[in-house]
Amino acid sequence: MANRPELLAPPEIFYDETEARKYTSSSRIVDIQAKLSERALELLALPEDGVPRFLLDIGCGSGLSGETISENGHHWLGLDISASMLNVAVEREVEGDLLLGDMGQGLGLRPGVIDGAISISAVQWLCNADKSSHEPRLRLKAFFGSLYRCLSRGARAVFQVYPENIKQRELILRQALQAGFGGGLVVDYPHSTKKRKEFLVLTCGSVQTSIQTGKNEHDEGCSEDDSSEDEESGMVSMSDRNRPKKRQKPNKEGKSREWMLRKKEQSRRKGNDVPADSKYTGRKRKSRF
């Protein structure tokens, strides 16, 4: 695959019947998906009490990742936008329930019902505006907001993603944090272009747990307190920046031109359309206004 699929067509069109079959019958892809799913389940850190959990597989496709979940003894619900991929899943008689849906429209699940969520190679599709009515930021917001709501307290969401560039990764992370998630990025084999894999591990609720370190070339890692590996493995942890600050006294000096220029620059950086600065910006108006 010389081109990224996301640049060729929207997922429900790219993954048509032929592509769906090709995807699922490629032993290489099946193998990779199984490994990624196993790792994602590991990172979910579900309690090891032998009780099966109810998990969500976002972008479940033809059920490759779902099968790994079933093999690990859990029940699952899969969501995908491609009917062709889901049909292949039905043919393979996967054990989870399947939903035809668009994650960018919100998940539509009741609060606190899901014990954990995984997504293998799917979330990056959200960053593309496939229809003129799409605004990726709004879709990401709808997705992360609804995901946060439906997860039970202390549950995690683990996404294996292939971000196109740094901007995309930051966009995804920012939206996740704004929705209330905490968490970090776990990178396996950070120095190998072929083997490098990124997992976004999101936590919700007040449970404070440590995020595992990524794997390095010596296949070590996955130990919770191995901080000497930091140089080899890539671990970036993020926490909610929107911590409630102490109530500040309202600024009595009013809003100066300097303040206004600063705010406009901030808004421009976010990507909003802001009128150009001129000699009229922040000028004192006549008392009429």
Binding site: V51, V90, D97, D102, G108, V113, C150
Partner: protein
């Protein structure tokens, strides 16, 4: 689609505040056996909306569940109840039919066991 999923799904249309539960219009229901695990059933019980489950089960042709949500004692000791709950949650499959939004009446068709929850442009 099984009742365990139906009990979690709500209508996502813009403006609909409480789109739960979706009414089931059962076309074709089949039964598939699943291994019984009492721990899982007990774990899920806390998350279920009991009334919606009983209603849903009835729409799919299963009326063995008690009307009122049982209390903890029953959950611990009564295995036959757990088996009934297991059967309702995991073994009944809605293959063809529809899910109907309680507020707007919008139908989400179910084909080959897969509900189509895709919203139209104006519903987002």
């Amino acid at each position: 689609m099984r009742l365990i999923t139906h009990n979690m799904l709500s209508c996502n249309i813009k403006g609909v505040t409480n789109g739960f539960p979706l009414r089931i219009e059962a076309g074709n229901v089949i039964e598939k056996e699943v291994d019984f695990n009492p721990d899982f059933i007990r774990h899920m019980f806390a998350k279920l909306e009991w009334k919606a489950l009983v209603e849903g089960a009835r729409s799919m042709g299963y009326a063995e569940l008690p009307e009122d949500s049982p209390d903890a004692a029953v959950l611990e000791s009564d295995e036959s109840f757990l088996k009934k709950l297991h059967h309702a949650l995991l073994e009944l499959h809605l293959e063809e039919g529809a899910l109907v939004c309680p507020k707007t009446g919008r139908k989400f068709p179910v084909n080959k066991g897969i509900p189509n929850m895709l919203l139209h442009e104006d519903e987002v």
